[in-house]
């Protein structure tokens, strides 16, 4: 599903990623961990195509991101869900509109958009909150909206950057349960976190980064 070959990324003289070689299988649940500045976000941005490597190759589902055009990258992103620490919701749109946006962008029919949006909101436990605006919800609820939006397209890959960074431990557990249920349906999950509690007894693959290099690979 995801292959990285000798990937390096530099910002000026600062090396954010250094000679990264990784392979993640389809349906895998992978944690990327490490301290702040280790290169976790940069690695996710590379996989998502919002940043290009200085050298090396990245393949997503067999597509080389270095050789892909702008339009094809847009089309590829429709198959990839994303969840960020700051939720990235549009505050002027309702919860329903925020979630539906992912399908509108893909040119889906209104009837299907309505049906799938309600299904996605039900899956994250937010039925009845369709007409609310993001700022009327709690942090945990906002992150659930972001997850609903990420899964509505039934993506092959879901990327999450510190998805529980702003949430309390109870809500964090709820969000992780949601991620596991998404993974069980066959979606590959890559989650970047520096929260060690999250990695305890997960039974999932953990890749530890430090100063832009992979320093450890283990199962949690």
């Amino acid at each position: 599903m995801i292959q990285l070959f000798k990937v390096c990324k530099s910002y000026g003289t600062n090396k954010a990623l250094d000679d990264i070689n990784l392979r993640m299988r389809k349906g895998e649940f992978v944690f990327i961990t490490g301290p702040s500045g280790a290169g976790k976000t940069t690695l996710l941005r590379m996989i998502f195509g919002t940043a290009r490597p200085t050298s090396g190759q990245i393949l997503i589902d067999g597509i080389n991101l270095s050789r892909i055009g702008r339009l094809k990258l847009d089309l590829l992103r429709r198959k990839i869900g994303f969840v960020f620490q700051d939720f990235k919701l549009i505050n002027s749109k309702t919860i329903f509109q925020n979630v539906a946006l992912a399908l509108e962008v893909a040119g889906e029919r209104p009837a299907i958009i309505r049906k799938k949006t309600h299904q996605a909101l039900r899956a994250v436990g937010l039925s009845g909150k369709e007409k609310a605006f993001p700022l009327e919800l709690s942090g945990g609820e906002q992150q659930r909206v972001a997850i609903a939006r990420a899964i509505i397209n039934e993506p092959m890959l879901l990327i999450a950057d510190e998805p529980t960074g702003n949430l309390d431990p109870d809500i964090t557990k709820e969000i992780m349960v949601l991620f596991r249920s998404v993974n069980l349906k066959g979606t590959t999950l890559v989650i970047a976190t520096h929260n060690r509690e999250l990695l305890k007894d997960t039974g999932q693959r953990i890749i530890a980064l430090d100063k832009g290099r992979v320093i450890e690979e283990r199962t949690g």
Binding site: F48, T50, R70, L71, D74, L75, L76, R77, R78, I80, F82, K88, L89, I90, S92, L101, A102, E104, V105, A106, G107, R109, P110, R149
Partner: protein, 297 residues
């Protein structure tokens, strides 16, 4: 699919306009003023052209006589004038009348003539030619024929003024083009900056759209529609104000310097269409410039 997409674009553009209505209203007001100036200039230019054309078609002449000529010589001039087909003597202007006309023409400035007791203006005949259009009267031949008479000092005709005025009109057209060009640039600048403001106020939203896999055009089209809508609405508003001003101003006819009375005409339907089309093009172009710059950066 395409119809669905365009419905989505139109709804998004409308929502954007409503969400940023103050910015759009200010921008539309400014564009309306610019387009109003542009339309007024078109109207003025068109009427001046018409005026000059009509003026040229209704030939009138002033035949100035030498000083101290007798009744016999005047009769000679009159019969020479009447020999021309369609020529009609509108009046004989005596020296006293000529001075009175001059004073009247000067209005409040007539005081300038006080103290000039010795001022002498020549007597003259005012003549016109009926149905000049279609006739074969050559004003130059009339002028030279009459000036050959001993008692005639000079013959002046309106065509000379028209010819002179044509030069002024050419200059007017060049100035008009320059002002029109500047106004278009101003409108472009206003629209592109308004759209830029709305783009920057929604840059986080655009980033989210792009993260979800929206194509560049999916993001761009609503902004272009915003620009076009701004342009068209401002163009229509400018035209409405122009129509209102035109109907409110009761002076639909003007009589300048005793020349033939003319009607002020409003822009043709093509002229109105041109203003709206120009507004639309400028709006679209303004949108293109700002969204293009945003995506480049």
């Amino acid at each position: 699919m395409i119809i669905r997409l365009w419905i989505y674009f139109l709804k998004t553009a409308l929502a954007n306009i409503l969400n940023n209505r103050l910015i759009h209203l200010i921008s539309m007001g400014t564009i309306t003023i610019s387009m109003l100036l542009f339309g007024a200039f078109m109207l003025l230019s068109m009427n001046m052209n018409n005026w000059i054309r009509q003026w040229g078609e209704s030939l009138s002449m002033s035949v100035y006589l030498n000083d101290g000529i007798d009744e016999k010589a005047r009769k000679e001039v009159e019969s020479a004038i009447k020999n021309f087909t369609g020529a009609e003597i509108k009046g004989f202007i005596t020296k006293e009348q000529a001075i009175a006309n001059l004073k009247e023409g000067l209005g409040e400035q007539a005081g300038l003539l006080e103290g000039l007791e010795d001022i002498v203006l020549p007597e003259s005949y005012e003549i016109t030619f009926k149905d000049r259009a279609g006739s074969s009267i050559d004003p130059k031949v009339v002028k030279s024929t009459l000036e050959k008479l001993k008692c005639v000092d000079e013959v002046q005709y309106s065509q000379q003024w028209v010819d002179r005025f044509e030069g002024v009109m050419d200059m007017f057209r060049v100035v008009g083009l320059a002002i029109g060009g500047l106004l278009c640039m101003a409108v472009l600048f206003i629209i592109s900056n308004t759209i830029k403001l709305t783009i920057y106020s929604r840059r986080d939203e655009i980033e989210i759209y792009k993260l979800m896999g929206a194509t560049d055009w999916f993001v761009k089209v609503p902004f272009l529609i915003e620009g076009a809508a701004q342009g068209v609405m401002s163009g229509i508003a400018a035209l409405l104000i122009l129509v209102l001003s035109y109907s409110v101003i009761s002076l639909k006819t003007i009589d300048i310097l005793g020349l033939p009375v003319i009607n002020i005409a409003f822009l043709s339907s093509e002229g109105c269409f041109f203003i709206i089309l120009l507004s639309l093009v400028l709006g679209l172009l303004g949108g293109f410039i700002s969204i293009g710059r945003f995506f480049k950066s």
